[in-house]
Symmetry: C2
Subunit: 421 residues, 2 copies
Amino acid sequence: MLTNISVRDALAIVLDCVHPLPTERVPLLQSLGRTLAEDVYADINVPPFPCAAVDGYAVIAADVAGASSGQPAVLQVIEEISAGAHPTRPLRPGTAARIYTGAPVPEGADAVVMQEVTARGDEGRVQVFEPIEVGRNLRPAGEDVRAGELVMERGTWIRPAEMGMLAACGVAEPLVARQPRVLLISTGDEIKDVSEPLAPGQIRDSNTYALAGLILKYGGVVHAAHKAVDRVDDLLRIFQRHAGEVDAIVSSGGVSVGDYDLVQDVLQQVGAVKFWKVTQRPGGPVLFGTMGKIPVFGLPGYPVSCMVGFELYVRPALLKMQGRRALRKMEVVARVDQDLKATKGKTDFVRVWVALRDGAWVARVAGKQVSGRLSTMIRSNGLLVIPEDVTQVKAGQMWKVQMLDDPEVEGDPLGLIEPLG
Amino acid sequence: MLTNISVRDALAIVLDCVHPLPTERVPLLQSLGRTLAEDVYADINVPPFPCAAVDGYAVIAADVAGASSGQPAVLQVIEEISAGAHPTRPLRPGTAARIYTGAPVPEGADAVVMQEVTARGDEGRVQVFEPIEVGRNLRPAGEDVRAGELVMERGTWIRPAEMGMLAACGVAEPLVARQPRVLLISTGDEIKDVSEPLAPGQIRDSNTYALAGLILKYGGVVHAAHKAVDRVDDLLRIFQRHAGEVDAIVSSGGVSVGDYDLVQDVLQQVGAVKFWKVTQRPGGPVLFGTMGKIPVFGLPGYPVSCMVGFELYVRPALLKMQGRRALRKMEVVARVDQDLKATKGKTDFVRVWVALRDGAWVARVAGKQVSGRLSTMIRSNGLLVIPEDVTQVKAGQMWKVQMLDDPEVEGDPLGLIEPLG
């Protein structure tokens, strides 16, 4: 068992112990946020056939070469092709087909003139008032993707655009990694659920809810939540009961230096402790180990330490289990709004609210940085990272901030298209 | 009806027509991503009582004033207080109480010495090797939030930290805005679902899936999805059937200039068209109107135009319905990787992939910017915004990018604590 290791070393150990989960197929409408577990190739050309990009007339460009408003080209309209229909006759010189956006262009046509530059004449004729270049307003087959093309690689995060593209490629049930099932345990005789009355000496359990939110946010599911587990044999039984059902165990509390430690005791009996304590603040007293193939995270009981420990170690583990390629959090570089003291030999994560002011990111420190103050987390959208060897940060300096959520963009939503200042 | 209006004017009209939805209470575990519809006050102090911040001994600081490793203070341990227990005796000079993190400190104690600077002696005595300042390692009642304090305002987006804080404040079922129920309609005889075979002239429907993803992403629910609706009377019936059940209608296709326009015809019969066409690319042919109080968005059929139209107009509408305060998308300023031509008199939204390179944001243009190429959207995480009066962008210039998703942060996840370069 390693102890007092660096954040970097701790994360490397965690990632070394977690592996992609088995896969499953899900209906496309339920695939948002999942991660592709297979490469996806286009089964057909998209679009499948050359089609009109506008409403107008399919023509042979050479037929309208000299057209002008004074001397329009006059063509015989041989058919009308709606989207979804199929052209029945090829174009020959001197002919055109009325066509609508998305409809297949007939054989022989090499451009589509927009209806705005035409006028319908007598006896099925159309006047065209402008010349057109070959290929204009005509989407070739495979313009978007070509049949057989690798369109999305495994490890791709499924966003709305990927959902659309999966439909276009004929994938009605994408193969994705299973969602990690997480067993959630909070320790401490003193904690009570929000739905229960509080006796003297008791406090409400906030960690279970914050951790459940984090698990959902990063693509996991809460398999079960056990609360106020405070005896080694109870904890042992819970671990063993769920061992075959879950992909990760996350506990909060019960990892301090006192007589009431729990997770470490249990892990020493039925698993292996990999490290205990990381040189970081907050969230230093974090325990990590494994029970069989299941990673076990013993997070500290303080709400801030618990959440920071989750963001640093559980989040990348859950993403790796889902097969995600990008594990790193988004970062911005922001101007710090006040002097800060940091701990020599520890990586400090200072809760800040990042916002855009006069075109630059500013990090406002979210109040007194005490691990028990969950209120600092609701006033934060990022963690300002101060490396181990730095002990002082000065107001006005630029520092790297790991974002927990999107930075807030000030100003009215209409401002979003203002020219760059 | 207004036509050819600016993005800014169009968005102002949309926001003017949408209003916060009625509210509902949801179980706390299901509240992630919802928006608070009430101010939340703390019902008790958090923590509710003064408690130990570490494992150790509750003491009277004056008793250990002169303590050192050579001359420890010796105190009588009168009681042991676990978390969840209740102290039964006040401390008097010369006494201490064994105490664990989170346990209530006894009356009279004004500091907690860490067990690491103590040694247990004979006959229930403890040696303390260091002096301590008053208040040290002791969390006062209300350190996090005070009873009666306004902790979260209505309009707050519920993230994991807010879930934890709602639990701490005794809110088991927060009051939130209802999720917007969206009726989704795709028009076009030529479109087929991914589950159906394709006949000649037909294409697969990608818009329904991309739009469903966007609706879910921004907190809505797909109430119903009707496909390939291509007759005015069918569309009219669908509008009327769902009128009392939905909060918004989003259609794609059927808003071009051709003979087959649909949404506009229906809206002119049963509602009001507010604007038609915005001076933007892509996504210019967008129709907006209302049927009673329901906003109706007629998006273009091209997949890119459709998604960009959604991001610009439907997204802020859905967020406003949910009572969200921040409607503006996150923006970064990024260096453009190639020359770009833009349309005079139109706001251009260029699909780009934003990534961090050598500490700066770079926007890589996601291939040929054709509205039918959904593949440009899967290669994008942002829209580079080129205002109406600009016609050229040069490689190397810095431009504002509206992020669709988090920018990609290159490099291994362990890099996240590297000192600022």
